[in-house]
């Protein structure tokens, strides 16, 4: 499906509606076409094109040696990728679902993250680990984990999360080009989100590590990434009814973290809420709130608040709507930012 739809847009040279999944697939295709050292490997990535069809058509176009259905073993897949990268290839690994990446943790933490450091810079590992992640698609257990906190707590890994179709393409290209390992978290509930997008003229992206202001505002900053970006944009729209003019910052990567963009925004607005769906305790929001406090203390009119998933194992599909932070929870936090008025 991906390649055909994208080619239609390309022929006319005009932007056409494309899904995030299609843009990701196109990024893989273009990277493979440009650089023969780029290899894709994982479970069901070949004939099937991945369970989300992101790798559709790659095996056909580049052959099974470049897009490989591996045996079903995540530690083996990532471990093999380490060896491939040691020998000069640029592996892009697909983990089928967030919670199925855990068998590969040993390889990720002990080798992928540390090889550059262990070898005094002599052996960087240009590996991209693509992980469909997060909830909201009605998946049964182990299909909806938000694992970014584990990854960001591991020095040596970049942690990147696109939230738009443009970024899906651009950030994946950047990640594959990076000489450092990247954990590329694909918000699976945004896979089918669409935007007008042309593969012939994809929007240029800045290097990994730059956040963007998705919506300028003056009253407070919502800081978010990945699956929670649409929630925050919707909340910002809704908040105008209350007279709030919210700025929304999309981090796009947790590592590196763009202190500059975040701090500049919070200094302008004086108030901040961090929004993500992974658990709050020990989650990314705590780190972000601490950094903001350290850098913007004198500009803050209220404590930095967090809106996060509950501190529970990801719930079953019939209950997930109670867990995922939605617009109301964000607005509720925004209301609590009127700190002076309350105290």
């Amino acid at each position: 499906m991906t390649t055909a739809a994208v080619t239609a847009g390309e022929r006319t040279g005009r932007a056409r509606p494309a899904t995030m999944a299609q843009a990701l697939g196109r990024a893989l295709r273009d990277a493979m076409a440009e650089d023969p050292t780029v290899h894709v490997l994982g479970e069901d990535v070949g004939t099937l094109g991945g369970v989300f069809r992101v790798t559709d058509g790659l095996a056909k176009e580049f052959g099974e040696d470049r897009c490989t259905d591996t045996p079903l073993a995540e530690a083996g897949i990532l471990g093999a990728a380490v060896g491939m990268a040691m020998y000069g290839l640029r592996p892009v690994v697909e983990m089928q679902f967030d919670a199925f990446a855990y068998p590969a943790f040993e390889q990720l933490v002990s080798h992928v993250a540390k090889m550059r450091n262990r070898t005094g810079g002599a052996m960087p590992l240009p590996i991209t680990v693509r992980v469909p992640y997060g909830g909201g698609i009605g998946g049964v257990e182990h299909h909806s984990d938000s694992s970014e906190a584990y990854y960001m707590a591991t020095p040596g890994l970049h942690v990147v999360m696109p939230a738009t179709v443009d970024d899906a393409y651009g950030l994946l290209r950047e990640s594959i080009a990076s000489d450092d390992p990247v954990v590329f978290l694909e918000p699976k509930r945004l896979y089918w989100s669409k935007a007008d997008w042309s593969p012939a003229a994809p929007a240029p992206v800045e290097p990994i590590g730059r956040a963007v202001v998705r919506r300028p505002g003056r009253s407070a900053t919502l800081i978010t990434y990945g699956p929670s970006l649409p929630v925050c944009l919707e909340a910002a729209e809704a908040a105008t009814a209350e007279g709030w003019d919210l700025e929304v910052v999309d981090l796009r990567s947790l590592v590196p973290f763009d202190d500059e963009t975040v701090a500049a925004s919070v200094r302008r607005t004086g108030r901040a809420v961090v929004v993500h769906e992974s658990s709050g305790f020990g989650g990314p929001g705590g780190e972000i709130a601490a950094r903001i406090t350290e850098q913007c203390f004198h500009h803050l009119e209220a404590p930095v608040l967090r809106v996060a998933g509950f501190d529970i194992p990801y719930p079953p599909p019939m209950q997930e709507r109670h867990h995922l932070p939605g617009v109301d929870r964000v607005l509720d936090a925004v209301a609590r930012l009127q700190w002076e008025a309350e105290s």
Binding site: L72, A73, V140, I312, R321, H323
Partner: protein, 387 residues
């Protein structure tokens, strides 16, 4: 009792240090090259008619269950269902060879084995329905939670069987895994532990040809999955997974062997997944109809039916009775599944720890307040829009 004191364990210790002795005769560990068959062979004559009839009734019921569950996914009553149609002989035999005190360690596809072991059909679907992660008390039924991460339940089976043996209990664990799952590190580690500890475990690999889209040839280069046993020092057995009598016999022998303290066995049942991986999968992308059709001729229910009718143990009436019973089960299942489960959102916080932490109490209070305020985010409709 320590491991060393267990009967038979001493023989497994290297004695004395330098003398490593190669196994002089690995033959007893090696599987026969052809899958073991009973139905339609001379061996069938010796089989117990009552057992065959019981297997038949369970197979028919199981197939009907698979069909009903798949239908329920279309009505949105189940989040997802991985059908085991075509594999019923493996599912049923796995359940029937065990004593009540034994344990079953199923994978996510093995709902049918759990039901055949006596689990309530609705409780068995709880995970796939999406209201709770496990719908039953594993200790009550001695069925571990249906396991989604592949092969991770296998070391658990080894540990449980080992613990039971340390306690002096006469308990066997039977662990189920797919062909794809045998590639995981956990499979290797479980088999190795089981053999070293001589744990009373039986590993049943349902080789149904595919791991989602990946055929066996891309999964392993071994002559058979049963061959893998030899390297760990346990016997491997290859069996026709569509021959219910054969699967039952091979598993019974393996269970008896484990019970006698002779250690684990790896059984590979060669079968075929007739449906797609789950209702969400499109099997036409990776396999052709002709292959599926070829397997239809080797259907486990037909094989058994032919045997039973040929021996005059079953007639049209008997077949009708079995199908009627299956239909009644399906009807009851449909009815029960059409009722919305009574769910309390506050349950989200109930079983994270024995006692709720301060944070969880705080978060529970916040959710309570949201629900009391009639916050739209908690409506069913809100959830749909959120998708």
């Amino acid at each position: 009792m320590t491991v060393q004191e267990l009967p038979g364990a001493a023989a497994y210790r290297p004695t004395p240090p330098p003398a490593w002795k190669p196994l002089t005769d690995p033959a007893p560990l090696l599987p026969d090259p052809e899958p073991y068959r009973v139905l339609g062979t001379d061996a069938a004559a010796g089989t117990d008619p009552e057992l065959l009839l019981r297997l038949y009734a369970e197979l028919v019921r199981g197939r009907r269950y698979n069909a009903q569950a798949t239908a329920l996914t279309k009505q949105g009553r189940l989040a997802v269902y991985p059908s085991s149609t075509g594999q019923e002989a493996c599912e049923i035999a796995a359940a029937l060879v065990l004593e009540d005190r034994d344990w079953l360690f199923p994978s996510y596809r093995d709902t049918l084995a759990a039901v055949a072991r006596g689990l309530d059909p609705v409780e068995a679907l709880t995970l796939l329905r999406g209201d709770r992660h496990t719908g039953y008390d594993p200790r009550e039924h001695r069925i571990a939670p249906l396991c989604t991460p592949l092969a991770t339940q296998l070391p658990h089976a080894v540990g449980l069987a080992h613990a039971a043996r340390l306690k002096g209990d006469d308990v066997v664990a039977l662990a189920m895994v797919g062909d794809g799952g045998t590639s995981e590190g956990d499979f290797h580690e479980a088999l190795n532990f089981a053999a070293v500890w001589r744990a009373p475990v039986v590993f049943l690999v349902q080789n149904n040809g595919f791991a989602i889209s990946v055929p066996l040839a891309k999964q392993t280069a071994a002559p058979s999955l049963a061959h893998k046993a030899v390297g760990y020092g346990m016997p491997g057995r290859l069996v026709d997974g569509n021959d219910a009598a054969a699967v039952h016999q091979v598993l019974s022998e393996a269970v008896a062997r484990a019970r006698r303290g002779e250690g684990p066995t790896l059984v590979e049942a060669v079968t075929y997944r007739m449906e797609a991986h789950t209702n969400a999968d499109d099997a036409t992308r990776y396999r052709g109809d002709s292959e599926v059709e070829a397997w239809r001729a080797h259907d486990p229910i037909r094989l058994l039916e032919r045997e039973l009718t040929g021996r005059g143990l079953l007639d049209e009436d008997g077949i009708g009775t079995v199908h009627e019973a299956a239909e009644r089960m399906a009807e009851a299942l449909r009815e029960q599944m059409n009722a919305d489960p009574a769910l309390d959102p506050m349950d989200l916080f109930s079983h994270v720890y024995e006692e709720q932490t301060g944070q969880l109490r705080e978060q529970a209070a916040r959710l309570r307040a949201e629900l009391d305020a009639g916050n739209g985010a908690h409506d069913e409709s809100g959830a749909e829009e959120g998708r």
